[in-house]
Amino acid sequence: MMGEARPSRLRIVWAIAAAFSVFTLIAGSTGNALAGDRVERFPAPDFRSGHVMPTLTTTQGPWAGWQEIDVVVLAVFLVVAAWLVLKKRSRRATFWMTVLAVAYFGFWKKGCICPVGSLQNVALAAGGNGYSLPWTVSLVFLLPLLFSLFVGRVFCSGVCPLGAIQDLVLYKPIHLPAWIETPLGMIAWAYLGLAVLFAATGSDFLVCRYDPFVGLFRMSGPSHMIIFGGVLLVLSMFIGRVYCRFLCPYSVLLRMLAIFSRTRVTITPKACVDCRLCEMSCPFGAIRYPSSVEGRRSPEAARRQVALAMATVPVLMIALAGLGYWARGAMARIDFTVRLAEKVYAEEHGGARAALDETRAFWATGQPAEQLYTAAAKTQARFAIGAPLFGTWMGLALGGRALSMMIRRRRTGYTADPAACVSCARCYESCPIEIEVRQMKADPSFARGHAIGANAGV
């Protein structure tokens, strides 16, 4: 059967990849055209023809009560997802939760509320930018983290629309080796550091600006982001949840908290028979081998390695902090005020070829350039602190990640790594013990004729 199916599937893969590529390109152009309506309005006629321009009106925002409702809906989704994954252990129900998450939080709510983006609100408030964090946003940020702390990453499985849409397009997953997956996963740590740095300095909401799927949910957005989202979706057909595993900054927080969760995904309800079927079924590389498979090193060699790593971590932190400090000027350019000040400065000092729209708008305010320079200097001063902190964070993350892999953990049987597992419940369906237990529950007579684990060789 597989032998017949393979060539045909290959064709399908290519057909889908081509179709999605074209789709993303066209959708990019479409999005760009539609976004133009919002960002760069069509210019008014530059001659007088007697036409009376309509009065500008401001669209009313959504009803204020939606914020509270959104928080309640988020909590309900989290509770239901946790119940379906951990109690019901149902892949089918989890799949439909995924569909619902894309439909509601994605297409209906158009990507907002978003716990992933809310981490920037928290950073902005913590950075002392005069921003008061609404309690609803606090809860949007905290609820998935609390659930992760107690029951693992159920937010990723059936609530987050970004993860859900990638999960839905998963077609033929490729298993990435750990030596590729783990280093690539560090990008998310860097992204988190930058997102916090830019938000805390009041410069930019990087995560929202580069949200790859919000353009699809809104049927509008910058063309490069629509294309980026489309490329991620095509990749997600073969590499499960590319954004979640290698880019999502919020997943870093979820991972760190999920390690401490007491109730979490357990692949088999009884003793593991080491069949490795769960490992094959997991498209996200979240299954860890039993300790016996990982082999033993001599305690002395292990101690030497850990000691060396522990000595390296501070060096790495200091080195990257230094680089961060020297990079502060370039990093501060993410801030609009700094970029505008650079353009105004260039115009004032003969370095600009012609006046730009933004500098003209600035001059039209009547604000002296010195005020702008002072504001830019304040931002640069914040980056002088924040950029080395970012370097320190990256040194700690890289060193700590390496250290965590050196430490040998005792595992009996194949287990889901609580940090990497997105609680999708696929492994349940592949576990022969799980299936036996289900059959026994459904048919008690079945239990009488079978000892659990008897078909371990399946």
Binding site: S281, E342, T365
Partner: protein, 600 residues
């Protein structure tokens, strides 16, 4: 929708395969549909792009033609039609793309669902593959992978660190701007630390400046023309009229001449510009916008307009400043070389002081607000780059007069008027040389200079005659007040030997002899004046608001009109007089008067 099942029901295996095949075919159809919609959208976008008047430059070309021929109604209709078409194309494309996007999204949904079903129905069971390969996660490959990622991230930071060396330190820039004029509290620059512009050996010589009309009232802004000029002309009969051309934008600024080019400023609330005309034919060579398109809330009274100041040129670039606080240097091909913006200026009627050029530097007198607010300053900018050379605070409020450059035995001086001071500055360093009190109110008339004496006057104050060889406050040592029948309110002074000519807006003209300290004659002329007199030899050329230029002799003991020229429309700008030609800016036309053109 579930993962691959472990226990397949063999009896239903064929059924699953058939369903998978069916789902795949649906997926193919959906994929084909997406590609078809995509192709149609692409073709439509490309065709509309080719037919778009906005991108094809049609409208720009039409607009350029309209600048040259501003009264062509059919041209205006063509622009309107093209503009209408641009809008129709835009909104058609928008609707079309929206429909296409929805169709493709629907197709993508069908494709995703069908392929997902095909994958599930066509999947085979997982089968055990034996024990996992032994080995620790922290193996050699992982070490290399993590090291590579560390190098990549470190490398990116290093690359950013490298580009950071070019970043501007705005803490320093803010301090510099405070000294440079951005701050409302302007400080006097230290002459010892002023920047010196690089000396360009190929820059036009003083003789070339003297042969041209580089700024308001000619070389040094003195109001003195060299050469012989016609004393009669008539635009209606074309007597001594070399050419006349319509002016693209209205304004009060005077023409500025450099060899074969005539420069004019003009503007409305929508656009300020400097335009260049051919001195030989009057043909418009180019018009370059100055500053932002919209004047953002700046409302000026009609008398001032949006281009009250004259441009200035150093023979390579033309400089123009408009009341929005925007200043631009434009090369002789109409391209902006550099620009500055001084922000919204605190000026009741709008900033109208003209720019002057001195020794390769552009002199900008920026008097604003009240004296106690410390907003006013005079500065020199490098004409080539716009870089500040020096800046000196001025203890005066807003004024509208233009500074002049005079030559003393000790070197050139900049004479700038304000309330209440007449002040002299060193053009090289900006250091104050001397000051004399005696002016007051709204200081608008520019000074005059002759025989080592500066003359300054303003209505409801005094006529001052100040010798320029003093230092410090020379109010009691080098300045004397002269009696005069009338004092000017707008029109600048003109001087001939010891005589100074004073003109009121209402039409009174008086000549005062400073040596004898008495009025030589007074004459009322109908029409009123905004334009300032220009002296050529002993003749004064004074153009009234009706466009009649009165030519009279300043050497005679009584008023004696030598001739009269008419352009037949309102004139508020001072004429430019170069090489036997007189360039007069009328309300809507520019005239060139020259004796070589005889009467028809």
């Amino acid at each position: 929708m579930t993962s691959a099942p472990i226990h397949l029901d063999l009896q239903s295996d064929n059924g699953r395969r058939q369903r998978a095949r069916c789902a795949r075919r649906i997926g193919y159809v959906a994929g084909g549909f997406i590609l078809l919609v995509a192709a149609i959208m692409l073709v439509t976008i490309v065709r509309e792009e080719q037919d778009n008047p906005l991108t094809a430059g049609t409208i720009d070309n039409l607009k350029s033609s309209l600048i040259a021929d501003g009264t062509n109604e059919s041209l205006k209709d063509s622009i309107r039609q093209a503009d209408q078409r641009v809008r129709e194309v835009y909104f058609h494309r928008r609707t079309f793309l929206m429909h296409g996007a929805w169709l493709m999204l629907g197709g993508a949904l069908v494709l995703a669902v069908s392929m997902k079903l095909a994958a599930n129905w066509g999947a085979s069971a997982y089968t055990p593959t034996g024990p996992a390969p032994a080995g620790h996660r922290w193996g050699l490959a992982m070490k290399i992978g993590m090291a590579a990622m560390t190098v990549i991230l470190g490398g990116l930071l290093a690359a950013l660190a490298t580009s950071s060396s070019r970043a501007i330190r705005f803490a320093d820039a803010a301090r510099a701007a405070a000294d440079d004029g951005g701050d409302s509290k302007i400080k006097t620059s230290n002459p010892a630390t002023t920047t010196v512009a690089a000396i360009d050996p190929t820059a036009p010589s003083d003789e070339e400046f003297a042969r041209n009309w580089p700024n308001f009232r000619g070389p040094g802004a003195a109001g003195i023309a060299i050469g012989d000029y016609p004393i009669e002309w008539n635009a209606a009969s074309e007597k001594n009229l070399l050419w006349r051309v319509p002016i693209a934008q209205s304004g009060k600024g005077s023409p500025v001449i450099w060899n074969d080019r005539v420069f004019l400023t003009g503007g409305t609330s929508d656009r300020r510009e400097v335009a260049c005309y051919d001195a030989a034919t009057g043909a418009l060579k180019w018009a370059c916008p100055i500053g932002a398109k919209v004047s953002a809330g700046l409302e000026l009274n009609e008398a001032t307009g949006y281009a009250p100041a004259s441009p200035a040129t150093d023979g390579r670039r033309v400089f123009a400043m408009v009341p929005t606080g925007e200043l631009a240097a434009v090369d002789f091909n109409g391209k902006v070389v550099w620009s500055k913006n001084f922000g919204k200026l605190a000026n009741l009627y709008g900033h109208a002081t003209s720019l002057v050029v001195s020794g390769g530097n552009l002199i900008v007198q920026l008097d604003q607000g009240q004296a106690k607010e410390n907003l006013s300053a005079i500065m020199a900018l490098d004409a080539a780059t716009g870089k500040p050379i020096w800046k000196t605070a001025r203890p005066v409020g807003a004024s509208w007069s233009t500074p002049m450059i005079v030559k003393s035995p000790a070197g050139p001086q900049i004479i700038a008027l304000g309330d209440p001071w007449v002040m002299a500055y060193d053009p090289t360093t900006g250091a104050e040389l001397w000051r004399a009190t005696g002016l007051g109110g709204e200081v608008t008339p520019s000074p005059a200079f002759a025989a080592g004496t500066v003359y300054a006057a303003v209505e409801r104050a005094d006529l001052l005659a100040i010798r320029i060889d003093g230092k410090g406050d020379v109010s009691k040592t080098h300045a004397k007040k002269l009696e005069a029948d009338i004092l000017p309110d707008i029109v600048s002074l003109a001087a001939y030997n010891d005589r100074v000519l004073l003109v009121s807006t209402g039409g009174s003209v008086t000549l005062v002899d400073s040596k004898l300290a008495k009025t030589v004659w007074t004459q009322d002329i109908e029409g009123g004046f905004n334009a300032s007199p220009v002296v050529a030899g002993s003749r004064a050329y004074l153009t009234d608001l009706k466009g009649v230029t009165h030519i009279f002799d300043l050497a005679t003991p009584a008023f004696k009109e030598l001739g009269r020229g008419e352009v037949g429309q309102e004139v508020a700008a001072t004429p430019a007089m170069v090489a036997g030609r007189i360039y007069i800016r009328g309300h809507h036309e520019l005239f060139c008067i020259a004796a070589e053109r005889g009467a028809k």
